[in-house]
């Protein structure tokens, strides 16, 4: 019996060697484009990851519904752009009207996401906090809320993806080693990084930021210092929402037809992984984790020749990093980040 088991084992490895074949040539050919695309996605992950990190820092809660906060922002962006007359073909607008329209869409996306985050906090989490619910209960509520939001959109928008909305045709900007970096990639990465820096400075320097950190460490004592805990918590959710709304615009730019009722889930998980990779609760960690995860996934996919590998590679790297640095790359949490 054992012998025949052993005999059949090699069947796990396919004959044509597809199991693991490193397509190094392909990686070489596609290296730079993989890098730039990876960075763009990484920037989007990072913005969403911040929402996880901030809420985690303050409430010690994995806000599983954050992926829905993000997807609502995407709907906001799509609806605005459609209303502004954007459609499946890139419009012929001058740069300023494009920028204006994009800003408007971003504002709406941010508002939609922030409002969702706010409502989520008010309707789902606050009642639990009042009752001193254990942490896991928040997690499950988040999951329930996630279902509710998804299926509201499912019922309203059907299970199909929203029609594509194309904002502008990316124009080549740089040529790096034969690979073209286009305006879209540039806009996304730069804008995301700027936003992250602003948030980072806000948490470190502002009074509210100090309040956030205090609540993160000891909510009761923070209250005794005059910190309005409830307001801090809401603020945190809203900041996370605003960033998710920004991410929504970039996501729609990148994948104009990717908005679907359940479209946030996978991205949400990646963003959460990014947050952990960088060190959950750490603002800079989210940026680093997001960019890294974007890059690793893209390289892995090209190297191993199957998009399935994206996740495997990403998670294997995550596990390896955590084994070496159990608290993520930048370890210290929001609570501990120095001023």
């Amino acid at each position: 019996m054992l012998a025949s088991l052993v005999h059949t084992l090699p069947q796990l490895v396919p004959a044509d060697g597809e199991w693991i074949s490193f397509d190094v040539v392909s990686l070489g050919q596609n290296f730079w484009s993989a890098t730039f695309d990876g960075l763009t996605f990484g920037a989007i992950y990072a913005l969403v990851a911040l929402g996880y990190t901030l809420v985690y820092g303050v409430l010690n809660l994995i806000n599983f519904a954050h992926s829905e906060v993000f997807i609502v922002g995407c709907y906001g962006v799509i609806f605005t752009l459609t209303a502004l007359g954007f459609g499946p073909s890139a419009p012929n607008l001058d740069i300023w009207s494009i920028v204006l329209n994009l800003l408007l869409a971003m504002l709406v996306g941010m508002a939609a996401s922030a409002l969702t985050a706010f409502l989520l906090e008010r309707l789902a989490y606050r009642p639990l906090r009042k009752k001193n619910a254990p942490r896991l209960v928040f997690l499950i509520t988040a999951i329930g809320a996630s279902f509710v939001i998804q299926y509201l959109f499912y019922l309203w928008r059907t299970p199909n993806p929203e029609p594509a909305v194309i904002m502008f045709k990316p124009t080549p900007i740089f040529d790096v080693f034969g690979t073209i970096i286009d305006s879209q990639q540039l806009v996304i990465v730069i804008a995301a990084v700027i936003m992250m820096i602003v948030v980072d400075q806000f948490i470190r320097r502002s009074r509210t930021g100090r309040g956030i950190r205090a609540v993160a460490q000891d909510p009761d004592t923070a209250t005794l210092m005059g910190v309005n805990k409830e307001r801090i918590i809401v603020t945190t959710f809203v900041i996370g929402g605003i960033l998710a709304g920004a991410a929504a615009l970039f996501y729609v730019m990148k994948i104009p037809s990717g908005v679907q009722y359940n479209g946030g889930f996978v991205l949400g998980i990646k963003a959460f992984a990014a947050a952990v990779l960088g060190g959950i609760g750490n603002v800079r960690g989210a940026l680093l984790g997001g960019l890294l995860l974007g890059l690793i996934g893209n390289y892995g996919q090209i190297l191993l020749g199957n998009s399935q590998w994206t996740d495997v590679v990403a998670f294997v790297v995550l596990v390896l990093v955590l084994l070496v640095r159990p608290e993520g790359i930048l370890g210290t949490s929001l609570a501990r980040s120095k001023a």
Binding site: T141, A145, Y151
Partner: protein, 371 residues
């Protein structure tokens, strides 16, 4: 509702043992008869066959009991538990399905094999990762779950979405000559799973009321303090993982047999998360609660298939509302961690502090001579 449940557990605990057993017997009999009675409002028909619903509820309940060991007792947040369920399913499928190149063994033999293999996976996953704290463990387990699913997709021998058909079944034929454990015959599967649940419950109960259960809870409460009090923290974490995994594998094997088909679609993060919801919904740390939670999570979507588009909306709302109104789960009664705790507490309650020590436990003989 709140009072109803908390009174219930109070009342329950105040009942004498024989009465508790009698009640339990009634409940068990009712549970066995559930699909036969097929109660009108409760039934999931005509959308889905109720016996099959029951069988699936039972599998989920079993899963929840297993996950409860990991999450409820040891406090290890495992978001990839579905991986063990998957491994169990695949073991059963690959050792019985004609689509598999492996040698074939009778279905019932795959059950212990599945448990052994998943236990092995539990240890493999646990040893490197269980030193991580809290939510870092959560993401690593989530990743593990994804990796198992993706491997099932890309390793050709695992047959991806194509899957394995005609997974084996326990022996036995019905009167009309068809197999007793046909995929469409939920009843025997339900009963089998129920029997398994009862056995697992008894065993888990034994663990709970032993140094093992106490160690788990101590780890959950304060890992450092537990270690300093002499609890081999790492060892018991790995045990929790391995035992939880084994139950998950067991459930997976039964599930594979009942469905008769295994492919990679079921084993995603969303399912993992549902399992977790089952545990928390029931009341983390409470094994009876886990059973109810598992059953509820499996039941709600099947109950509302007639209004198909709304079923997950209802499910989500139910989760949120249940958590808000039953914050500590449906059955929040805490676990009892002492094998002879009832007698001990009774003794503490009755006895004036300085009185002589009664020897009703028979643990030590009365020495009589005190200075």
């Amino acid at each position: 509702m709140k009072n109803f449940f908390s009174n219930l557990s109070d009342k329950w605990n105040s009942l004498p043992r024989p009465q508790q057993w009698a009640f339990l017997a009634i409940i068990v009999v009712l549970a066995f008869l559930l699909p036969v009675i097929n109660p009108p409002f409760i039934t999931t028909e005509p959308g889905t066959n109720f016996a099959i619903t029951c069988a699936q509820m039972a599998v989920y309940a079993l899963v929840a009991v297993g996950l409860n060991i990991v999450v409820g007792y040891a406090g290890l947040l495992d978001l990839g538990y579905v991986a063990f369920f998957a491994v169990g399913s695949y073991v059963a499928a690959m050792l019985t399905s004609p689509d598999s190149p492996f040698l074939k063994i009778p279905f019932l033999w795959t059950v212990p094999v599945a448990m052994a293999v998943t236990m092995f996976f539990g240890v493999i996953l646990g040893v490197p990762t269980l030193r991580l704290r809290g939510d870092y463990l959560a993401i690593v387990t989530l990743g593990f779950g994804e990796i198992i699913r993706v491997l099932a997709t890309i390793i050709p021998a695992m047959r991806g979405q194509v899957g394995f058909q005609d997974v084996g079944r326990p022996p036995g034929v019905a009167e009309d000559g068809s197999p007793l454990f046909a995929n469409s015959n939920g009843l025997p599967w339900y009963w089998l799973t129920l029997v398994v649940i009862i056995i697992v419950l008894l065993l888990v109960g034994n663990l709970e009321r032993s140094r093992v259960g106490r160690s788990w809870i101590a780890i959950r409460e304060d890992e450092d303090a537990a270690e300093i009090m002499g609890v081999p923290v790492f060892k018991y974490k790995v045990w929790a993982f391995a035992l939880g995994a084994a139950v998950g594998g067991l459930a997976g094997a039964l599930f594979a047999g009942q469905i008769g088909f295994v492919n990679n679609q079921k084993f995603d993060v969303a399912t993992s998360v549902l399992f977790l919801a089952a545990v928390v919904l029931g009341g983390a740390g409470n094994k009876v609660g886990a059973i109810i939670g598992g059953a509820v999570v499996a039941y709600i979507p099947l109950r509302f298939t007639e209004i198909a588009p709304y079923k997950y909306l209802i499910f989500g709302l139910a989760l949120v509302l249940l958590m808000i109104f039953r914050t500590h789960g449906l059955l929040a009664a805490r676990q009892r961690l002492l094998a002879y705790g009832r007698a001990a507490y009774a003794r503490l309650r009755k006895k004036p502090v300085d009185g002589p020590v009664p020897t009703e436990l028979g643990g030590t003989e009365n020495k009589g001579a005190t200075a």
